[in-house]
């Protein structure tokens, strides 16, 4: 049976696809670094394991070089594998964000792992693999490629969430994340199979050509809904957000930072790819769905965050709520505000990455001294660690969207996108967003209050010593947060050239 099949003409002789090595260079470099970390781990003595983080960090920066060369090479879009994998300015931009965010996470991890006595080689191996998955996601324009990238970035993350293996909470974090993540993958895969069944192709562009508002088969509608639900889990949108607080709280703090920023961003990138390339004419189906999700995500995330007393848990809900703001522009994508919405999301992701990673860097620095994750442990931070206090305030203000810090540009872009749509629906969403940005200050402000206005809880005012890697992370994030707010042009300038 098999032999006859193989012998027949049905299977064309295999010919290797043409590969543009320059376009794939970032992925190839990363893959090389992953192997290097794994090999080095085998031969390094226990006392020299710190070298691994250096290899990982420099590897990520090295992968950034081809991104720059590709960006200046002048080719607008390099399409490979029959359109399944596309390297264009948009994908380069998000890849850049992933790599830099990954670099900061490596900086955050360095001392955390050494002092916590965790496995290092495997950790960096998994972290880099996950980042490779994200980088691939930026270019995926095919249902199968998207799925492979998604699993590539998720599976290492399940393990990383449980890295503090002696702590039950961390085990719970990993298990919960894994089970719900796999469930989401299954739902999404089912949606993808429906889409394939209806349109007969897995290439997003091909799907986009077939799906038109008003003439869609029920199967395709179900496909779109399921695929979006699958990614709603990934970006922890309400009502699929339940895993996030527990996972964030249990996971090692650098991994929490990684999940809340990079992994979430990857989910949004996948959503953008799908909505802009595969469903541009499916607005009737996804717009109301995403609109409702955006409004409820930002509201519920905010309201829940108000009641938290643990900083990481509070930030988990804050991250859910920020996710609602990032979803907001997607709710009007497909119409005349598509371009604005795309710029808004990419800008938001960049600003959010810089700000949130910075805040986690402060959390890691402060908890080195206080050994506590409670909000009250930050009391009087400004009085004994003024620099950390000011930086934390700046990051919180940025998350709250207060100029001149980066967050305002992000929020502004999101508002702008929904208002451009000119529909009442868009205005309503903008007002929900506006009200929510006020509620959010309730908890961002309460952290600021601890930092500035409360007494030091145990009277211990010894200054906090931060290792140099953490300092570097703080400086990178602080500088980026301020720069994005004062001269937003550095990110918004790409708005004209990122198109899908």
């Amino acid at each position: 049976m098999l032999s006859t099949l193989l012998a027949s003409d049905v299977v064309a002789p295999f010919s290797s696809p043409k590969i543009d090595y320059h376009a794939l260079a970032p992925e190839l470099v990363l893959a090389g670094v992953i192997v290097a970390v794994l090999l080095a781990d085998l031969f390094l003595e226990e006392s020299k394991k710190w070298v691994l983080s250096t290899i990982a960090g420099f590897g990520l920066l090295a992968a950034f070089i081809p991104i720059v060369t590709l960006a200046v090479s002048g080719h607008r879009a390099r399409s490979m594998f029959g359109g399944a994998y596309v390297v264009d300015t948009y994908s380069l931009l998000v890849k850049g964000i992933f790599l830099l965010a990954g670099y900061v996470v490596v900086l955050l991890s360095q001392n955390y792992l050494e002092e916590g006595d965790y496995y290092q080689g495997e950790y960096y191996f998994l972290l880099l693999s996950s980042i490779l998955g994200m980088v691939m996601m930026g270019s995926s324009r095919d249902l199968v490629t998207i799925f492979v990238s998604l699993e590539f970035l998720s599976i290492p993350a399940y393990m990383l969430a449980a890295w503090r293996k002696r702590d039950l909470k961390s085990n719970e974090a990993g298990t919960k994340y894994y089970l719900l993540g796999v469930f989401a993958s299954a739902v999404m895969l089912y949606g993808m199979s429906l889409l394939y069944g209806d349109t007969g192709t897995t290439i997003l562009k091909g799907i986009g050509a077939k799906l038109q508002n008003g003439s869609m088969s029920p199967v395709a509608v179900l496909g779109i809904v399921f695929v979006i639900i699958g990614f709603a889990f990934k970006v922890s949108a309400v009502p699929f957000h339940n895993w996030a607080p527990d996972t964030y709280q249990g996971a090692p703090t650098p991994i929490t930072a990684f999940l809340s920023v990079a992994s979430k961003a990857a989910g949004f990138v996948a959503l953008i790819n799908l909505i802009y390339v595969a469903f541009p004419h499916g607005g009737d189906v996804f717009q109301p769905m995403i609109g409702v999700m955006a409004a409820s995500t930002m509201t519920l995330g905010n309201v829940m965050a108000l009641r938290q007393t643990n900083i990481v848990r509070m930030l988990a809900y804050s991250s859910i709520s920020q996710g609602g703001f990032i979803l907001m522009p997607l709710a009007v994508a497909g119409g005349k505000s598509s371009g604005n919405a795309l710029t808004a999301i990419v800008t938001y992701l960049a600003v959010y990455a810089a700000t949130n990673l910075g805040l986690f860097a402060v959390i890691i620095a402060v908890s080195r001294k206080t050994r506590s994750g409670e909000v009250s442990s930050w009391g009087g931070l400004f009085s004994y660690a003024p620099l950390l206090g000011v930086l934390a305030t700046a990051f919180l203000a940025s998350l709250a969207g207060i100029p001149p810090l980066g967050g305002w540009v992000a929020k502004f872009g999101a508002f702008r996108a929904v208002i451009t749509s000119g529909t009442n629906w868009g205005y309503a969403l903008a007002i929900v967003g506006a009200v929510n940005s006020v509620i959010a200050f309730g908890y961002y402000g309460s952290l600021m209050r601890e930092i500035w206005m409360k007494p030091v809880p145990d009277g211990d005012t010894a200054p906090i010593r931060t290792p140099s890697s953490l300092n570097a992370a703080l400086m990178i994030c602080g500088g980026a947060t301020l720069a994005l707010g004062v001269v937003p042009g550095i990110i918004l300038r790409f708005s004209d050239i990122i198109k899908l």
Partner: protein, 560 residues
Amino acid sequence: MLTDHNWILTVGVFLPLAGVLIMLFIPKEEESLNKAIAIITAAVTLAVGIATMAWFKYGSDSSKLQFHVDVAWIPAIKSRYIIGLDGVSMPLYILSMVITLLVMIYSWDHIPEPGNAKAFMILMLILQTGMAGTFVAQDLILFFVFFEVVLLPMYFMIGVWGGEQRQYASLKFFLYTMFGSALMLVAFLALFFQTGAQSFSLEYLYAHSSMISTNVAVWIFAGMFVGFAVKVPMFPFHTWLPDAHTQAPTQGSVILAAILLKLGTYGFIRIAIPTLPQAAVKWAPVIGVLAVIGIIYGALGCLAQTDMKRLIAFSSVAHMGFVMLGISTLTQFGINAAVYGMVAHGLITGMLFFLAGSIKNRYHTLEIAKMGGILKRIPRLGWILGMCAMASLGLPGLAGFWGEFPAILSAYSPFHNDYVHLSQPLFRTLMVIAAIGTVLAAGYLLWMFQRVAFGEASPLIAGDVDADGNDLHAGAHAGDHAGDHLVGERGHGAVPFSVGAAGNADPHAEVHDVGIFEWIAWTPLLIGIVVLGAYPDLMFKVLNGSVTKLLAPVQALTGK
């Protein structure tokens, strides 16, 4: 283009940040050095401001935007760095510089608890940049950014250096203002898209206001209204103000009263009315009614207060009501009066908060009931208080009069042209009620002054008891017999002055009259109050041209 000196506004706005940068490298233990650098920065900034005044072209040119700068900022969203100064912004721009410098000088020996002069001064410098920037911004997004920059420093100023309820007050202040500005931002964006998504430049928006249908404009105006009305604050958005003022440190109260409240009224004049004239006409009666409710409500609130600072805070609600009444008439006369009222209120109420702060500093309380006869003890401070109370109630010859009286008068004949007119009966009714408000103002201010300053010195003022009612003369015994100590049983002077035991040195020693830093900080304000009162044309001449120009879109309404 250097002949235009148009670099000077940018320098004037951002110079305070240069001071901040220097101070970042000075350890906070160097208190005097930090203070000195901050004061020098503020002084140089003011010098730049004075140079701006000197180069400003008065006369018919005062209506033009001068020192105009227009360079790219965020091309992707069509927002540009456009700044300029005209007759309306100039007085407020300079006022912000003057107030910041004076407040800093006052801070030389008045850093409130819990200290840390460095952080305190840095926050004030950042505030100064935000305030000055708001008054020169000619692009909506730039305006919004500056408008928001002032929020955090003020939040920390109240929250860290404030009174007992500081955390509650600071959060309330922040949430109210943030709510307003979030809606304001949505309104700005809506305005941008309704005018063709071409530019955020005010000049462009003024010229294209007619593109928006009245129905839409009314809604956009509503968003701006909330944003600015919270800041003013207008009734019913005013409830953050008494708390914020009462809890803020003296310096915070002065800046809040003198400048921050004006950001709201300025927003109405500069942005809301000229960009949406068709909606302004619809909203004017609402604004007028709320303004007058504010006048009466504020005055009645004042009569009920027992705390001096809270009383002054409520008087702010009333005074800003007069300003808003002037604005709501949409007439050249009314808006001239309003801007005048803004500057006058800045000087007078700023001064009143300074005085309240100094009294609190001396007696550790602001309970009016416990005071009395301060004219006997600290006559200079008492008479300055008297003068400011008179100025505040609108005594002719002092600055307050020229804000209040013309504002009331302007309501006699509100805006009308051949096509559109505001309801005359309504505004005349408002005029009468507002006039009653001035009587009430005289009532609560004079009553306050009378209770605080006249008569025999009360036990507190005389230095016989402290703010909590403990008999200071019995200090030594109080320590020994804490249990059976009853203040009322001891006659004044029954026990000779005791020193040391309870930590109360000679109580009379700490109560001194106006000190040297207070004189330096206050004299310019007092001179301002008198000069602007005696020669109002000084400012009206500068204002008038610009006001006329800002009202041109309203004049051009055709009622379609």
